[in-house]
Each structure stands twice: as structure tokens, then as C-alpha cells.
């Protein structure tokens, strides 16, 4: 079925416009039950808000006073630092662990598996308590060749502040979850991609960096966004180290002075909500950025036989052991391409 003709012209001749029927104008179907239910919900919500506004226990004047208190905004900043530092470390470590788990070397693979088993199998609170006691377990840190005279010796207490311990504790726990997310992302990329890149003479590192990882990002970002938001909230556990300058611990300490617990809880919640809202917006834009070539945006609107074999992926959330904060992405190789455009989608939501 070959032909000797030269390349066909790209655009077929325009057909004459057929006659059109008038657009349908019909009476819309009413949903009275839906309307009643929605009104009821709105009413209930309004009642709750009005009631909360009037309730003395919330002590709104105190909330207003403390929400911009310098001790609180400083603590909010510390919480942000805890989140960012531990997340950055966790991402780097998570990518390393994910690549290790996909390694053909069984020793490397098992090591990564063991790490995940330990850090996902124990509560993060317990891990943080352990990190707080690290200077009792290991009084000093030596650098050098084992069983020989060390080159450098540090006293653990002197080099590791409680802040550093909190960051390490959060990061090492989080890395285990991110490793699974990254691994699922890497596996979601069609094998043909690796093959095509290899056939072009690209090295393993080039293939990873230029071809595989950018495509994995699309699958990795939504659950990682969830992990950032989750981490922001998990920082409230660092009191276990004990580290006490984060948002939650600081507001508890202030309420211990004022004997007025509830408004301080509201203040802390407002700050947490403020940060998570910002993170959700950021996640929305990141997702858009990495959906390039997959969504339905196209340079023009001309329709010509869209038989694209784009590999889509569907993300799903299933819980795993350890704190109920794990997100695992299930790769489903060939599926309809779809862009995540909704910042309020389940993947983008606050857990």
C-alpha cells in the first residue's frame, strides 16, 4: 500500500458549509431537591458562623490581639523554616532512595527497602523523641575510618541544636514517603521513552534528567504538594524533640501564661491555614507548568485527526502504614490525557 506520489498537501479542501438547524432552546430541567438542600446547608453554615462570632469562649478580641503578636509571627516563620529545610532534604533523599529501589543491584535495593520499612513503620512522634535523645545514645560524632584514630570528633550536643534535630527528624521520616512517590512517578513514564532516548545515544544520566524526570514530575508534584502541606502541620510535633519555637508550641506556651487556651488555638490555626492556602496556589501553578504537552492547549484550534498516543497517567490516593499521611501514586500507563486544572481537586486539598 505504498505510493509513489509526492507528499500529500497537508490541508484538505474545505467542504461547502452544510445547512444548519436552529440551536436548541429548551426549558431547563429544575432540581428542586438540590436547591432546598443547598439552601439548608448555607443556612446551617451561617448559623454556625454567627454563633461562633458571639461565643465568649473564642474570645475574638484576644484572637485579634495575638494574631499579629511578634512572638507568634516569629514562630510562624520558624515553622516555615522547619517545613522548607526538612522538605528540601527529604526530596533529595527521597529521589536517591527511589533510584536505589529501582536499582538492579539487590544490596542497594534491600538497603532502600529497609530504610522505608523503618521510617514508615514507626510514628514520626516516636522518631522525633529518639532524635531528641541522640546525644545520650551517641555522645560524640567522629569523622574518620572506622576502628582507627578519628580525624575529627564533635560533641553531639554542641553541633546539633534542637532545631537541627527537628529538621533531621522530620526530613528522614518524610524521605521515606517521598521515595515511594518519586518511584511511582519514575515507573509511570512509558518504557518507550527510555528506549527512544537510549537509541539516540543519550547516556543514562541525560535520559533521566532530560526525558524521564520531567515526565515523572507531572505525577510526582500533586502528592508532593500534599506532603509539603502535611509537613507544615507535622512540624507541630517537634515539641517531642523538644523544640519549642514553632507556631503550635509557641502559642501553647503563650496560652499557658494567659490561661486562655482557645483563642491561641484559633490564632495558630489561622496561620496554618494562611500558609497552606499559599502552598495550594503554588501547587496549582507547578502542576500547570509540568502538564505541558499533555493538556488540550494547542497553538491553534484547527482540528486534524487527533490520534495522539500521549501517555496519560491517573493519580490515585491510597493510604499506607505509618501516620496516615502517605500518598502513593498508582501509575496507569495509557489513559486519556488530562490536565489537573482544579486547585480544589482531591490531590490539591488539605488533609
Amino acid at each position: 500500500m505504498s505510493s509513489t506520489k509526492p507528499n500529500r498537501p497537508a490541508a484538505p479542501q474545505a467542504l461547502p458549509e452544510p445547512a444548519r438547524a436552529a440551536a436548541i432552546k429548551a426549558i431547563r430541567l429544575r432540581h428542586p431537591g438540590r436547591m432546598v438542600f443547598a439552601t439548608l446547608l448555607v443556612l446551617l453554615f451561617v448559623v454556625f458562623i454567627l454563633d461562633a462570632a458571639a461565643r465568649p469562649a473564642f474570645d475574638w478580641p484576644s484572637v485579634g490581639k495575638y494574631v499579629f503578636d511578634q512572638r507568634i509571627s516569629m514562630a510562624a516563620f520558624v515553622t516555615l523554616q522547619l517545613t522548607v529545610y526538612s522538605m528540601v532534604i527529604a526530596i533529595v533523599l527521597g529521589v536517591i532512595l527511589a533510584v536505589m529501589r529501582l536499582s538492579p543491584n539487590p544490596v542497594v535495593k534491600s538497603l532502600a527497602w529497609f530504610y522505608l520499612w523503618v521510617f514508615r513503620g514507626t510514628p514520626v512522634y516516636v522518631q522525633l523523641v529518639f532524635w531528641g535523645l541522640i546525644s545520650i545514645i551517641y555522645q560524640d560524632i567522629s569523622v574518620g575510618i572506622p576502628f582507627t584514630e578519628p580525624w575529627l570528633v564533635f560533641e553531639t550536643d554542641a553541633v546539633l541544636s534542637t532545631f537541627a534535630l527537628a529538621v533531621i527528624g522530620l526530613a528522614l521520616n518524610e524521605a521515606a514517603y517521598l521515595a515511594e512517590i518519586v518511584r511511582a512517578g519514575l515507573l509511570s513514564v512509558d518504557k518507550g521513552q527510555d528506549e527512544a532516548a537510549t537509541a539516540l545515544g543519550m547516556s543514562w544520566a541525560q535520559t533521566m534528567r532530560r526525558i524521564i524526570i520531567p515526565q515523572a514530575m507531572r505525577v510526582v508534584i500533586p502528592p508532593t504538594g500534599n506532603e509539603v502541606i502535611s509537613m507544615l502541620k507535622t512540624t507541630s510535633l517537634v515539641t517531642a524533640v523538644p523544640f519549642s519555637f514553632d507556631l503550635f508550641t509557641r502559642s501553647r506556651d503563650i496560652s499557658a501564661e494567659t490561661f486562655n487556651v482557645i483563642p491561641m488555638l484559633v490564632v495558630a490555626s489561622i496561620w496554618y491555614l494562611f500558609f497552606t492556602s499559599i502552598l495550594m496556589v503554588g501547587q496549582y501553578f507547578l502542576e500547570k507548568r509540568f502538564a505541558r504537552g499533555v493538556g488540550d492547549r494547542r497553538p491553534d484550534r484547527k482540528a486534524d485527526g487527533l490520534t495522539g498516543a500521549a501517555t496519560g497517567t491517573v493519580t490515585g490516593l491510597i493510604p499506607t502504614i505509618g501516620g496516615g499521611q502517605a500518598t502513593v501514586v498508582l501509575p496507569v500507563p495509557p489513559a486519556a490525557p488530562e490536565a489537573a486544572d482544579d486547585p480544589t481537586s482531591p490531590e490539591g486539598g488539605v488533609r
Binding site: 505510493s3 507528499n7 528506549e195 537509541a199 543519550m202 547516556s203 515526565q215 490520534t307
Partner: protein
């Protein structure tokens, strides 16, 4: 760059022996996956500038053979060489030394490959797909790469689709971009693995046209296909494979009109 001098010396060496050295030479090549022997003592030869069509029922090992030529699979027994160079190994003092990944990659970039499912990079535009390897692998300057990429797009009839992502191109257009992407590395050999099998019937012709043009320009090609019309018109030789063995080979007209072997007859009666 050491790469360039290496290539020059190899080009010079192969030029002097160009007459004798076939582009692809397989001598009793076997390949097993575990206990499953997929290729059984394949021997064949593709001369410089020749087009060979490889046909056979599904599962007969056609893809595996192409992948061996590109060292995406490792041959279990026999010798396979491309342009005089052993694929995947270096021979010294009668011993074979496995090539390091970097050396294997260097061999691969002289061999273009086109896949049934196109395998374009979906996060890059058509133009970026074509520019990727010359820029990253050969390290050529961007302006030069872009110029030749646009020329290649024009050559496959897609000059106006440079900024389209693969998902916004039809199957036939995607496959033509994939051919242009492979050509961008200026290969001396092109491998096509059922390049039109995933296409709607009306899109097959546009891809075959591009391939025919390529054959006319003197490219050495091995084409796995079920398009017997293309084989008859374009190929210099046709090889029929079944269950990992070469059953019959020869000039396409001879094999297609007068198959000698029963299995060839049975297969051809289904696809013709």
C-alpha cells in the same frame, strides 16, 4: 573533542574498506531470554545503501533482532557487526571485551531507530524533540541544530508544525517527526520497527512516502513491516522470519510472487 577525532579515524578506516564491509552483518546470531530462544542462528547481510524489509508473524523475533543491532539487547551467541564494528564489544587478542555504557552510546548514535509507537518526548515540541540529541549528545551549537532541525521538518512535510507538542499531532505526523528526530543524528543506518502499524489506514501513506524518499536518497535501512506494496517497490531484499529463524530471503519480487517455503506461503496468503 576526542569524539570527533575518533569518528574521523573510524570514517577513514571504513572508507578504505567500504567496498567489502557490509553495513550490517549478522553471523549465526542467537538471542535467548532465559530459556526462551527468540533468535536462532540468524545470518544475513545488508549492504551500504540497501533497503531490507523484514517480515514475519508476530512474536517471530523481528523487533528483538532490530534491538540487537542497536545494542538495546545483548546478543547471546554469534557475531553482529555494523559497518565493520562489532556491536557492544571490542575485540582484542582474540578476546571480547564488553563496551562501557559510554562507548555503547557512541555506537548507537550512528544508528537511527523508529518505533511502532513513535515514542516522541511528549513534554517537548516537535522541534525540541528533533534538537534534543544533536544538542545534548553531540554538543552542537543551538543555532546550527535548530537550522537543520527545521530543514528536517520541512523534509518530512511538517515545517508548519515545529511548535506543536506530540499530543497535538496526528499519528502520521508524529511518526514523521520521529523519523526526523532519528535523522537529526545523521545516522548511517536506519531501523524501522513496524513504523505504520499503529496508524490509521489513511495516514500510512504519508509515512511510507517519507521512508521512500529516504531510501531514494541512499540511506541504508532495515524495515520491519507488513506493507508488502512498500517492500516490493522500495526494498532491495526481503527476509521472511518465523519463530526466530530466517525461513526465506531474496529479492522482494521473487519471495513475494514465488515463495519457496510453506510457512512463507501461509504467511503471505494472510497479509497480501
Amino acid at each position: 573533542m576526542t569524539d570527533a577525532t575518533d569518528q574521523n579515524s573510524r570514517a577513514a578506516a571504513s572508507a578504505s574498506t567500504a567496498k567489502q564491509v557490509p553495513m550490517v552483518l549478522a553471523e549465526m546470531v542467537s538471542k535467548s531470554f532465559g530459556s526462551n530462544e527468540v533468535l536462532k542462528s540468524i545470518s544475513l547481510e545488508v549492504k551500504r545503501g540497501e533497503v531490507m524489509c523484514l517480515v514475519g508473524p508476530s512474536g517471530s523475533g523481528k523487533s528483538t533482532f532490530l534491538r540487537c543491532i542497536n545494542h538495546l539487547e545483548v546478543v547471546s551467541a554469534g557475531r553482529l557487526s555494523v559497518d565493520g564494528d562489532l556491536v557492544g564489544y571490542r575485540e582484542a587478542n582474540g578476546k571480547l571485551y564488553e563496551l562501557a555504557p559510554r562507548e555503547a552510546a557512541r555506537q548507537r548514535r550512528d544508528i537511527g531507530m523508529v518505533f511502532q509507537r513513535f515514542n516522541l518526548f511528549p513534554h517537548m515540541t516537535a522541534l525540541a524533540n528533533i534538537m534534543e540529541a544533536p544538542q545534548r549528545v553531540k554538543g552542537l551549537p543551538k543555532a546550527q541544530v535548530e537550522k537543520s532541525a527545521r530543514e528536517l521538518l520541512a523534509r518530512v512535510g511538517l515545517a508548519d508544525r515545529a511548535d506543536y507538542y506530540p499530543a497535538h499531532l496526528s499519528g502520521g505526523q508524529q511518526q514523521r517527526v520521529a523519523i526526523a528526530r532519528a535523522l537529526a543524528m545523521e545516522p548511517k543506518l536506519m531501523l524501522f520497527d513496524e513504523p505504520t502499524s499503529a496508524l490509521d489506514p489513511e495516514l500510512v501513506g504519508e509515512v511510507l512516502d517519507v521512508m521512500q524518499g529516504l531510501a531514494a536518497s541512499g540511506m541504508t535501512m532495515i524495515v520491519v513491516t507488513h506493507e508488502m506494496g512498500f517492500a516490493r517497490e522500495v526494498a532491495d531484499s526481503l527476509v521472511f522470519m518465523d519463530a526466530g529463524v530466517v525461513v526465506e530471503s531474496g529479492h522482494p519480487d521473487a519471495v513475494l510472487s514465488n515463495p519457496q517455503h510453506g510457512r512463507t506461503q501461509a504467511f503471505l496468503s494472510k497479509v497480501l
